[in-house]
């Protein structure tokens, strides 16, 4: 059965087109001059350049980590282009001045930016290679005092906020890829929700890598003031190319007293072909700090793309009674490798964390859950619930689970559940006997397996996630 399923034709990656647009690139390679050039191109204040250089100097002393359960040839960091931007005549005042090719690109990706076609209820920041090309609904948001803009714009327009929070959750020297990002990050999104405001729209950033030899190093910072709420979603894709491209992003979230941040990701970078040629190396550092009492940060991720995924969105639960959540679906098909999970660091009293991880491996995919739950001395009454489920499709893939638990307060309550299941011939046959095709059966079984995660996604994106999952698994399953 499995063999007949595996023999089915692979669905091609649907977002693999290249936009033919003139690009302003800095020469490949990395040194202090390149960093100065990037900073100058972005007309950054001095503190920003200083911070970048500090990060760069630290990075040169660091070694690339090797502990992850992934294999790839050495990355030539001097072969990467660290800044690529579509050529623009001058600073944009409005959307009419955006190159139509860019608007068309995002439209093809299902992210219309033009005024009349915008997604209702969702404000989008569109990032193309190293720069943000457009942000929708800025005025609507501004009425509530919500700032949502390109990171580079925030550096210029709101330097005090950026200086205060940048690196406050993920310091420039946090890890190898975060340090690299801190040195060269190009753009990304910035969101600030003022005290007591419930953000009226979903905020969303769509990242698109287009240029061939470039890396993408975006940085996102979201600050939720006391009693505010925001739901944020990121999506991404890249052209099909037979070389690997590095994507090393950093996301920092800060939630103050009684604030809530819900951060959802649908990651669909180009995964490479069946033989493992090409694809994005997705080496990302994401962390949220529940700085205030009763604050809550919730990560939901659906990871279907990338040749290699290395990411552990985590929460530092500093405020008393704060809550951290991590809901994840990670799919590896063909030769994809994923080493992903979370870190929940409990510092405050009565802090709670929930981890629900669903790993699906097909083809020759390797899927690793790696999670750390740390209960520190002062975290009296802390609780964690972890559930790690793996599903195997076929017999050439692998699932691995590495939970690390470190408890230093005897009042902590920890629960950990794990399961591994194989999508069974009998399960598929049962569905087929009721008239469903093998493909529909598999999609139904997989979606059922991921249900607890999908229901955490905002409605519009849950549908997209289910569809993506179907596409990612086509070819390896029936």
């Amino acid at each position: 059965m499995t063999s007949s399923i595996e023999a089915q034709v692979l669905q091609p990656y649907k977002y693999g087109f290249v936009t033919d647009i003139e690009s302003d690139e800095v020469p490949a390679g990395l040194n202090e001059d390149v960093i100065r050039l990037i900073s100058a191109k972005k007309r950054e204040p001095a503190f920003m350049l200083e911070w970048r250089l500090k990060a760069y100097r630290h990075w040169t002393t660091m070694k690339e980590p090797t502990w992850a359960n992934v294999k790839y040839p050495p990355i030539d960091y001097q072969g990467i282009v660290y800044y690529a931007a579509p050529k623009q005549q001058k600073q944009l005042d409005n959307l009419q001045q955006v190159d139509p090719k860019l608007l068309e690109t995002f439209e093809k990706l299902g992210i219309p930016l033009a005024e009349q076609k915008r997604l209702a209820g969702v404000a989008v920041d569109a990032v193309f290679d190293s720069v943000s090309v457009a942000t929708t609904f800025k005025e609507t948001l501004a009425q509530q005092g919500v700032i949502f803009c390109a990171f580079s714009e925030a550096v210029r327009e709101h330097p005090a906020l950026v200086e205060r929070y940048l690196g406050s959750v993920v310091p420039y020297n946090d890890n190898y890829f975060a340090a690299l990002n801190s040195a060269v990050f190009s753009d990304g999104s910035f969101a600030y929700i003022p005290k007591g405001v419930r953000c009226p729209l979903e905020l969303s950033t769509y990242f698109r890598i287009n240029a061939a030899a470039s890396g993408q190093f975006e940085r996102t910072l979201i600050v939720a003031e006391e009693g505010s709420y925001v739901s944020y979603l990121e999506g991404c894709s890249a052209p099909m190319r037979d070389t690997n491209q590095l994507h090393a992003a950093v996301v920092e979230l800060v939630a103050l007293d009684d604030a809530q941040i819900k951060y959802s990701t649908v990651q669909n970078w180009y995964p490479g072909d069946e033989e493992g040629r090409g694809g994005i190396y997705n080496f990302v550092t994401k962390r949220g700090k529940c700085a205030g009492r009763n604050s809550k940060i919730s990560w939901t991720q659906v990871e279907t793309g990338s040749a290699i995924t290395w990411k552990y969105p985590g929460c530092i639960l500093q405020g008393d009674n704060s809550i951290g959540e991590f809901y994840s679906v990670a799919v590896t098909n063909n030769r994809q490798q994923a080493d992903t999970g979370t870190k929940m660091i409990h510092l405050g009293k009565n802090t709670r964390s929930t981890i629900v991880s669903k790993g699906i491996s097909a083809g020759r995919g390797q899927n690793t859950y790696r999670g750390q739950v740390k209960i520190l001395k002062g975290a009296t009454g802390a609780r964690n619930y972890s559930q790690c489920d793996s599903m195997l499709i076929g017999d050439k893939c692998g699932a691995h689970t590495f939970p690390y638990i470190d408890v230093r307060n005897s009042t902590a309550i920890m629960e950990h559940e794990a399961s591994t299941s194989k999508i069974g011939e009998d399960q598929i046959f049962y569905c087929r006997q009721r008239g469903l095709s093998a493909e529909d059966a598999t999609s139904m079984i997989v979606n059922g397996f991921c249900k607890e995660v999908f229901r955490e996604l905002p409605m519009e994106f849950a549908v997209e996630a289910q569809r993506l999952l179907g596409i990612s698994l086509e070819g390896s399953v029936g």
Binding site: D426, F429, R432, Q433, R434, L436, I445, G448
Partner: protein, 257 residues
Amino acid sequence: MTPAGAPMLEIKDLHASVEGKEILRGIDLVVNAGEVHAIMGPNGSGKSTLAQVLAGHPAYTVTGGSVRYEGKDLLELDPEERAREGVFLAFQYPVAIRGITNAYFLRSALNAVRKHRGQAELDPLEFLDLLAEKLKAIDSDDGLMNRPVNDGFSGGEKKRNEILQMAVLEPRLAILDETDSGLDIDALRTVAGAVDKLRRPDNATIVVTHYQRILNYITPDFVHVLSAGRIVLSGGKELALELEARGYDWVRAEAAV
């Protein structure tokens, strides 16, 4: 539909094996619309294999013989095509699907069948109406509908669910694989009673069972005894009672002669 004068199902000299081991060794059976056939026999005689082979389970390999169903070569069809053509297997061990509600599963299945028949697919509300009607027809309630498919169901609930699916999908040929196994006497009465209510002149039922007791509720027109992969004895409903009283050994002894 079945061509005029031809039986609904005609099995000729059917041989099948699993993992290289031959289980069915020449089955001949004719089933007409409106009939109920009981297939009985000791453990390991091939009863369940016959049911699985008719439904098209990929683990079984047909090594010889033919099966015609409503004028078509049944063995040429994929399992889902057989299902859409009206062949239904009530599983001995229904499979659980986590995270998918019974109602969603059943509506998807029904719509796959309806699409094949050229009928319009039902939206969730239309489906609920149909479901209410079918539940009433078999004296059941909708308690199982919002639970995940067979997940955490008791043995009785699983079997009841199979019959409910059968009621909704309206097969022309239903094969019940040991539907009575694991049921207490009350559950048996409910489940078998429901099957009996679904009997119609244009459908046929094959009841695969080890015991006679289910046949108290579903009266068979024919009873066949399977032994070592062959039908060794056929008779009317009284044969089932005789088997119940005397066991299977005498049949085997006679068959060996």
